[in-house]
Amino acid sequence: MNEKPGMSIIVKTTCRIILWVVFLYGFYIILFGHLSPGGGFGGGVVLALGFLSIVLAYGRSYALDWLSIPRLEKAEAGAVLLFLVIALLGVVAGGAFLQNFMSKGSLFHLYSSGVIPFLNIVIGLKVGLSLFLVAWALTEYDSEDGDEE
């Protein structure tokens, strides 16, 4: 495990093919959150697992080259600020905080129920990135090292 990082070639090839399907599935759950079960949390978890499969299959150093972790951290913080901006837009548009101020559209269509799909997208991004970054932070420690007091 220490000479060649990551898992065997079969796992790496499968991961490379499946990864985009996983991301697509995650985006589908997030985007259709107001029409079918799922929404921000569930779709975000699927996205985080997609990211995490890269780290598991290819090893940490490869993932460090491929993804830029500082940019992901900034995107995570930006997602929360975007949520607060959408919520405050409800106040600006003459309502209460977090009001559903956009047009409700027609039933059962993708463009319906106002501001909820956008909140789903923001929450999905935030949850996905947070879970991945938490798992990433846990992989930083190599348990063979000693530690200072």
């Binding site: 929360v80 106040v91 209460a96 905080f97 977090l98 009001q99 007091e149």
Partner: protein, 491 residues
């Protein structure tokens, strides 16, 4: 728009700090100072501008049974002022203290999350929303206790996290049972539907909520996490935890639930009295034998929460006034004591009372403010601790429970003994201390000075003119019991 700002401003500040952070933390400290000053200003405006009336804000425009209301009556505004004041003082203190720990933007982001959680708990009118914000504050608290990176801090944080998780599960069961029997989660509507429940169900829900929130408030049978967590945390975080977190998550929620929603049933008030008496005595007995300064202060926190519980358990207006006044005073002088402990630890490098020296020459502000705080907590006039303890003892005698008044006096005497030991061995012992390893910055001195001045000024809250203005609306909002429901739903 004032009410949601109490949650939005610190949350936005926390994530702005994450976005714009650089290594040294100056920008982070500046953003958090601006945010905390803004919320403090808003809470003072709320105190003055709302008068004594209850303001209800429905989130998202949804009406009451469906939506989540934010409710601010006088009690909420009073606690908001207390929380934001101590937060601002802790921030000013951390700016100097963190240079020793290695200042980092993560500390300020976590601090802002803690403040978001506490503000959210105070202004919400919905039971599950209260649970969510309580968890936000607790998670930030767990991470902040372990911030320094030393071995005993992780151990303390683990104990705190496991016990906090257990109590949160108990609270969640109680929320589920409440929802299934009253089919609503808004506090005001639960207050309306509560009298119709069966007696077994009332006791079951009350016991679960009492157990869960008493663990957050570190009442005697559930106090075991507090000495470790509050003594291992960095000093400004100990001040925040011991000064305001156990007040908002424990005492405020207990008062709100058991007085305004459940209508103060007598059996729970008696439980409060007994638990309060236990906390006072055992807390102060365990504190007298301590030689570690911060652990001693943590045990005294348990003891002073016992005073607040006795005031809550008496059920009279005077008792509740004493309890709320004592909560505010305890936040002030306990934070000041933790600031002093942190300053001594930073300057002399030790927390052990036997190894300290006389610091009057070396750190004058620390020495004098510690004298002010020690006299306040022991209940010596003219400092604020005397008046709040006096109100509680008089209320106990008036409510025909003289035993509890007697126990409160004993607790106060032992507190005086233990703090005389602190002053005698620690701050004003015979031999002067050696030169300080690190100088105490101006921001730390400023925070300690402000809190010491407030300790003296807050005794003015018993002056009849000021008392009617500030303390009486708070007490009447609480003692209005289920009148809270009509005030909220009548809007």
């Amino acid at each position: 728009m004032i009410l949601p700002s109490f949650m939005v401003i610190p949350l936005a500040a926390a994530f702005l700090i994450t976005l714009l952070a650089r290594r040294d933390g100056i920008g982070a400290a500046l953003i958090s100072l601006v945010a905390t000053a803004a919320t403090l200003g808003l809470s003072v405006y709320a105190l003055v501008g709302f008068g004594g009336s209850t303001v209800v804000y429905s989130m998202g425009g949804w009406k009451i049974p469906i939506g989540i209301p934010l409710v601010a009556d006088s009690f909420t505004v009073f606690m908001l002022m207390m929380v934001n004041l101590i937060a601002l003082a802790s921030l000013a203190y951390s700016w100097g203290y963190l240079r020793w720990l290695g200042s980092d933007w993560k500390y300020y982001a976590l601090f802002m999350t803690l403040l978001t959680g506490m503000n959210g708990v105070l202004i919400t009118g919905d039971l599950f929303n209260l649970f969510v914000f309580m968890e936000i504050a607790l998670l930030a608290g767990f991470a902040l206790v372990a911030y320094g990176g030393q071995a005993h801090e992780f151990e303390a944080s683990f104990k705190y996290a496991v016990m906090g998780g257990l109590s949160s599960s108990l609270i969640l069961i109680a929320i589920a049972v409440v929802y299934s029997s009253t089919s609503t989660l808004t506090l005001a509507k639960i207050a309306e539907a509560y009298p119709a429940l069966g007696p077994g169900l009332k006791i079951w829900v009350g016991v679960l909520l009492l157990a869960g929130f008493s663990l957050k408030a570190a009442v005697m049978p559930f106090h075991a996490w507090l000495p470790d967590a509050h003594s291992s945390a960095p000093a400004p975080i100990s001040a925040m935890l011991s000064g305001v977190l156990i007040k908002t998550l424990g005492v405020y929620v207990l008062i709100r639930l058991f007085y305004n929603v459940f209508g103060a049933p007598t059996i729970f008030l008696q439980v409060f009295l007994v638990l309060g008496a236990l906390s006072i005595l055992l807390g102060v007995f365990l504190a007298v034998g301590q030689w570690d300064l911060k652990r001693l202060l943590a045990y005294h926190s348990i003891s002073q929460i016992g005073y607040i519980l006795i005031g809550m358990g008496l059920g009279t207006t005077l008792g509740m006034a004493g309890a709320i006044f004592h909560a505010f005073n305890h936040a002030l002088f306990k934070s000041l004591l933790f600031f002093n402990a942190g300053a001594v630890e930073m300057g002399l490098g030790t927390r052990d009372l036997r190894k300290m020296g006389n610091i009057t020459r070396l750190m004058p502000m620390t020495a004098h403010s510690s004298m002010v705080a020690s006299l306040s907590i022991s209940g010596i006039p003219p400092f604020n601790g005397f008046f709040s303890k006096l109100i509680i003892i008089i209320a106990a005698i008036q409510a025909r429970q003289p035993v509890f008044g007697f126990l409160a006096v004993i607790g106060s005497l032992l507190t005086l003994a233990s703090f005389m030991k602190v002053q005698r061995y620690g701050f004003r012992s015979e031999k002067p201390a050696e030169a300080a390893e690190r100088k105490i910055g101006w921001s730390m001195n400023l925070a300690m000075a402000v809190l010491a001045v407030l300790c003296v000024l807050m005794s003015l809250l018993v002056v009849p003119g000021i008392k009617e203005g500030i303390l009486d609306p708070v007490v009447s909002a609480v003692m209005n019991k289920t009148g809270y429901a009509e005030l909220v739903l009548g809007r």
